[in-house]
């Protein structure tokens, strides 16, 4: 099923003075993701809080998986939502869901962090060999406040990943969590570049088919 993406031009912040629009939009807790972006663009801090409530754990999860340290992951979360607040007026719905947008911001900030620090602190390729086994997360425990959708999505994502071949899963995780290009993955794995490209392409196609019903865009 191909997701339809309505055209909704970015909201110019100059045309939506922060605070004025927010007051007219009611409680942010009942708003959908795009409304929250509009509220953020209009200056409603509660909208950012609501986005954090919905996707803070997702951003934290990807950040933690990449940076491997709680303090750094938290800083990535903070910066991600701060960046979202700043860039909310320029959010482009054509590029995907709000959750995907936040997740990719978090991933980028986390990778920036990892690239900026010593390579020895990085989560190594060993993590990619053990999908679902991110190190150092022993103090995590389920948060009952999270939506059932996240739990269901998590189960489905892990199941979809298990449905990939180990080499496909490894290539995809190296790209997403370590920020490696296909060429770098080929070099890392000592595999032909074409082989890596094929693994990524086929793996992503499988994931798309498996996860389409669980896209963030369908709401929480």
């Amino acid at each position: 099923m191909m997701q339809t993406v309505p055209f909704d031009p970015p909201l110019p912040r100059s045309l939506s003075p922060r605070g004025c629009m927010a007051a007219a939009l009611g409680s942010p807790q009942n708003a959908d993701d795009r409304d929250l972006i509009v509220r953020s663009a209009s200056g409603d801090e509660r909208a950012v809080g609501a986005l954090y409530d919905r996707y803070g754990s997702v951003v934290y999860a990807v950040a933690y998986r990449i940076v491997g340290q709680r303090a750094d992951a938290e800083e990535v979360v903070i910066e991600t939502f701060a960046q979202a607040w700043r860039e909310a007026p320029r959010f482009d719905v054509a590029r995907g869901s709000v959750a995907g947008w936040l997740t990719m911001i978090g991933r980028s900030r986390a990778l920036d962090l990892v690239r900026a620090r010593s390579r020895r602190d990085r989560i190594t390729a060993a993590a990619a060999e053990q999908p679902g086994g991110a190190p150092g997360m022993g103090d995590w425990r389920p948060d009952p406040s999270h939506s059932v959708d996240h739990t269901e999505r998590r189960v489905q994502v892990q199941r979809a990943l298990q449905g990939l071949s180990p080499s496909q899963r490894q290539a995809i995780e190296l790209a997403f969590f370590e920020g490696l290009s296909q060429s770098e993955i080929a070099e890392r794995l000592q595999e032909p570049l074409g082989t890596v490209k094929t693994r990524i392409r086929l793996g992503m196609q499988k994931l798309r088919e498996s996860l389409r019903p669980f896209y963030f865009e369908r709401g929480t």
């Binding site: 602190d121 994502v157 798309r208």
Partner: protein
């Protein structure tokens, strides 16, 4: 559908959404992407897939205070990047830096103040020491002068003569004459101050005629001392006298004799 290179858009769309293209590959694909709605949909969907990978790990519980920190950062409107592990966020680094600078400044100010105070005290002590050394030197010179005077008047052959006068209190002059060196030392006491532009002048009476000698002014205490006074080496030096003359001295006495004493060989 057109596409760059030898790969299909589907190939590149998945890798692009996953962030697995090099910068050069990404730029080329974005140029293609701008003109392909289908490719845009492909990328958008693969982005959703990529975002779901965030859930690949176990679910975690966020620290309760993190939400407040997020909102604080939002309120601050800070545009910052994330700093590496082991370091601190830039804001904290900046804060720490400012605090460190402030602390260093305070320390420097305190240290500078201390140094300035110390330097002031040292300078004061140095001035005191210099003054005391100067006074000590003066005392030393006075002692040496007294020692020299004492030695001079104690030299064998030196004779002491008194020049006297009438008055109340009675002034006087001691004249130590070293005949071997034809020099004398005179020491006056209870001498009155002289008018401005004037001084006492010593006369030796040689062969019955006054020979001009040194001029001198008494100190406020009434004392006066002149050393190495040349005494005429020839002729009969019978007496010495003192008059008040212009301070540049006179070839002949221009005022009455104030003090006089006979200089007779013992």
């Amino acid at each position: 559908m057109s596409h760059p290179g030898q790969e299909s858009p589907q190939d590149l769309a998945a890798a692009y959404a996953l962030g697995a293209l090099t910068s050069e590959e990404a730029r080329g694909f974005e140029a293609f992407l701008a003109g392909s709605v289908e490719a845009q949909r492909e990328v958008a969907e693969y982005r959703e897939v990529a975002a779901l990978l965030a859930l690949a790990g176990p679910e975690g519980r966020l620290e309760p205070g993190l939400r407040d920190r997020v909102l604080q950062r939002v309120r601050a409107g800070e545009a910052r990047s994330v700093t590496p592990a082991g370091g601190v966020p830039r804001s904290r680094s900046t804060t720490t830096l400012w605090l460190a600078l402030a602390a260093a400044l305070l320390a420097a100010v305190g240290l500078s103040t201390g140094l300035l105070s110390l330097r002031g005290r040292v300078a004061g002590l140095e001035r005191t020491l210099a003054a005391r050394e100067q006074a000590l030197d003066q005392r030393q010179r006075e002692l040496e002068a007294r020692e020299a005077t004492l030695n001079a008047i104690l030299e064998p052959g030196v004779q002491l003569f008194q020049l006297t006068a009438t008055g109340d209190p009675e002034p006087g002059i001691q004249l130590f004459w070293d005949r071997d060196r034809n020099q004398a030392i005179i020491h006056g006491f209870r001498l009155k101050a002289v008018p401005a532009g004037h001084a006492y002048q010593l006369w030796f009476i040689r062969d019955g005629k006054p020979v001009p000698s040194v001029t001198f002014k008494p100190e406020p205490t009434g004392h006066a001392k002149v050393e190495r006074v040349e005494v005429p080496a020839t002729g009969d030096i019978s007496a010495a006298a003192v008059t008040i003359e212009p301070e540049s001295g006179s070839p002949q006495p221009t005022s009455p004799i104030l003090l006089v004493g006979a200089l007779k060989k013992s």
